[in-house]
Amino acid sequence: MAILRLENVTIDLPIFGFDAGSLKKTLATTVTGGRIKLETGITVVRALDDVSLNLRDGDRLGLYGHNGAGKSTLLRTLAGVYPPTKGTYRREGTLASFIDPMLGIEMDATGYENIHLRGLVMGLNRATVNRILPEIAEFSGLGNFLSMPLRTYSSGMLMRLAFSIVTSVRADILLLDEWLSVGDAEFQERADKRMREIVDNTGILVLATHSPEMIRRECNRVMELCHGRNMGEKELPQDTTAAPPLADVI
């Protein structure tokens, strides 16, 4: 039973001035009373302001908002990366984050070595990785290239490998920053089918997107963010024929 809950969560992000990372310069401004012009100040940006959500098994939440509204920050908070400045965060169930499929990729290692590495980073043990390796290799369709270092790959091939690895594990909770759609037309078809399979089998899905059609297709709830604030969360009727146009709902 997956649970994902945020209660009155606020995230304040400190942005450091260029010289703020230097101990010598920070001490210098303290000693000289700020007369030397150094950028040692810290600006705090309120990325999320009093956001609450309560998700259970079967919920598919769409996050909608302008650029910089806080969708990625919210996803990272749900992934446990940013501890809330205020409010509480509760998660039960395993979590798979498809936000950065290239996480942990080593460009000098071969395809097979990277599959092992990513598998370990995702929390699988060696035996499990060995077991799912042939399936990942076959899905990526990269053939003999898997024995070559990743720096010889094209960007499309890198994304195909990253996609194949990242979608090979199932989790109760799934976080997506835009629908993952990579590779050439033939791969995209297989990729979409696999994404469909994963999403249908997952407990909770949170999808950040700019596309209203995506939300209508995948989600049963939608939350709009504007400058870090929750502008409203709505249930979406799943029967799309009787649904009002999304512009009326959001």
């Binding site: 400190p14 230097s22 992934a79 940013y82 996480l103 980073v121």
Partner: protein, 226 residues
Amino acid sequence: MLGPWWITISMGMMLLGLGPLYAALFQIPLNSFFPNVTLGLIFWGFIASTINDSCTVFAAAASYLKHSNNPLSLFVWRLLARNILQLAHQMVLYLPVAVLSGIVIGPSTLLFVPGFALLVVNLHAIAISLGIICARFRDVTQIVGSLVTFLMFLTPVIWMPESLPARARLVLYNPLAQFLALVREPLLGRVCGPEVWGGAIAWTVVNVLIAMSIFSWKRRQVVYWV
């Protein structure tokens, strides 16, 4: 072609150059100086490399910290594992040196194991403290680098602790000297006195307490600093 054995070869060459020359300069017989300096350089390389690398351990793992919820210690363990592997590659050089110098080992050599374990615990604590501090203040990395280089001369790495005149004995209380003695003496067939163990345990407690305070105070901010 030789791959990881280059680590062994480069240390071997340094020892071959340093050993006989400094033994002659210090006028100490080779068969007591050589094993001392071999172990000194090998362990100093391990300690210095771990401390220097620990300054950038979290900054280098920025993409992991910003996208997933891994514990901070994971990156410290990776650092330690890497350095212990390098240490193992270089320790093989000690075997011929020990045999040729006539080192006699006995059951007291096993004291190396708890000594090394204590050293690793300390390095883990130091790595967490330094990693967090250097994630916030990037120039502390250079300060640490200079300090470690300086400490190399205050620690009996190349010189022998016995050569020290009585009034300078205070230098041997420097924590790195105590840890070096803790791991070096058993492998030389000797036993460390209780004051070395006492000092090492005291430093361990201090380092672990400092690491725990820094960690609990600032751990949540590290992701914003990198």
